[in-house]
């Protein structure tokens, strides 16, 4: 199911961003694609650092509250960059994306990921972690890793389908 009408995608392609991305391949590939990938490294790193800490895999001798707080700060910045570069890339090929199943799969995964971070994960991890059920914490960490891997993988498959 599409979240936005085709007319929106038609407009996006004629917008200034769409025009730049369509006509300047070098800018599209560097400020769009490459910066998107660099942001993915930062975003994925922040997710993995805190989730692997919650799972007891790494940084076991650093308080998990410190790791989660610091990683979340980095996550927010990376999210802004990855969405900005993503919108830029999408504008250039907007009409094609409307008919691309992987694109919509990614949008749903992304919405799920953002809602999960800001409505579930962050509120839960804000306080003292020793007050939380350890199993809940581990499930949240696993869910977080899975949802962001889904976002990245469906994103990559936009280009293959």
């Amino acid at each position: 199911m599409e979240l936005l009408p085709l007319s929106f995608f038609e407009w996006a392609e004629t917008s200034f961003l769409g025009y730049i991305g369509k006509n300047y391949g070098g800018i599209y590939a560097t400020f769009g694609q490459s910066l998107h990938l660099i942001s993915l490294a930062v975003l994925g790193g922040s997710v993995l650092v805190s989730d692997l800490r919650l799972l007891g895999v790494l940084l076991k001798d650093v308080p998990s509250e410190v790791v989660a707080d610091q990683a979340h700060k980095v996550f927010r910045i990376a999210l802004i960059f990855i969405i900005a570069t993503g919108v830029f890339m999408a504008a250039a090929i907007a009409q094609k994306l409307f008919y691309n199943a992987a694109f919509w799969a990614k949008m749903y995964a992304l919405i799920a990921g953002i809602l999960f971070v800001f409505l579930v994960r962050r509120p839960l991890l804000k306080g003292d972690h020793s007050q939380l059920n350890p199993l809940t914490v581990k499930l949240v960490a696993v869910a977080s890793i899975l949802v962001w891997i889904s976002v990245a993988a469906t994103g990559r498959w936009i280009g293959f389908s």
Binding site: G26, Q33, S34, A41, L48, V49, W157, F160
Partner: protein, 186 residues
């Protein structure tokens, strides 16, 4: 001479059965590529955290050397997956890739990043214990961390650009560029 040899080697790889099998398999090739791309979250994700700690941007209250040592294993697992999936991607398209100027720049940047990391590690361990709990690493280590971030940004960028044929040998490239891309006169 070196370009001829590299091309011969790539052509030999191209003619092997597995190389053709991977490139011709839609799902196998694309999943190897997806693995290569997604693993930046682990390899570069950890590396970026270590470098940002040295520069004082993350976890300033936690020992910098501790962060570097604790994230090192996860980062190395990531780089091992990157290396294997990267080799397979090269093996699937050896002739195209060996004649890509972007691939060649990427290999040079990788070499630079590796040398930088070795020097950084040596220098960090030499002075460890004296500054670990400072929010920022000493100036010479900060330079190493910033260089690391820059080099890896270059590796990702040139890696992504391998997919583009703007400077491929079938185009009419000026002499130096043609040599640098590894083009061989027929």
């Amino acid at each position: 001479m070196i370009n001829e040899l590299l091309l011969q080697f790539a052509e030999w790889l191209y003619a092997t059965g597995w190389s053709r099998a991977i490139e011709e398999s839609f799902y196998l090739y694309n999943w190897i590529e997806t693995t290569h791309v997604l693993t930046v979250m682990l390899s570069l994700g950890m590396l970026i955290f270590i470098d940002l700690r040295m520069l004082g941007f993350v976890m300033p209250t936690v020992s910098a050397v501790k962060i570097a040592q604790r994230l090192n294993i996860a980062m190395m697992v990531g780089f091992a997956i990157m290396f294997v999936s990267g080799l397979l991607l090269f093996y699937a398209k050896p002739v195209y890739t060996i004649q890509s100027i972007w691939f060649r720049i990427k290999m040079l940047l990788l070499l630079g990043a590796f040398v930088n990391a070795v020097i950084f590690h040596k220098r960090m361990m030499a002075s460890a214990g004296t500054w670990d709990n400072e929010p920022k690493a000493p100036r010479h280590l900060q330079v190493g961390a910033a260089l690391s971030l820059g080099l890896w940004a270059g590796v990702v960028t040139t890696g992504r650009l391998i997919a583009y044929d703007w400077y491929s040998c079938y185009r009419d490239l000026p002499g130096l560029l043609s040599w640098a891309a590894g083009c061989v006169a027929e």
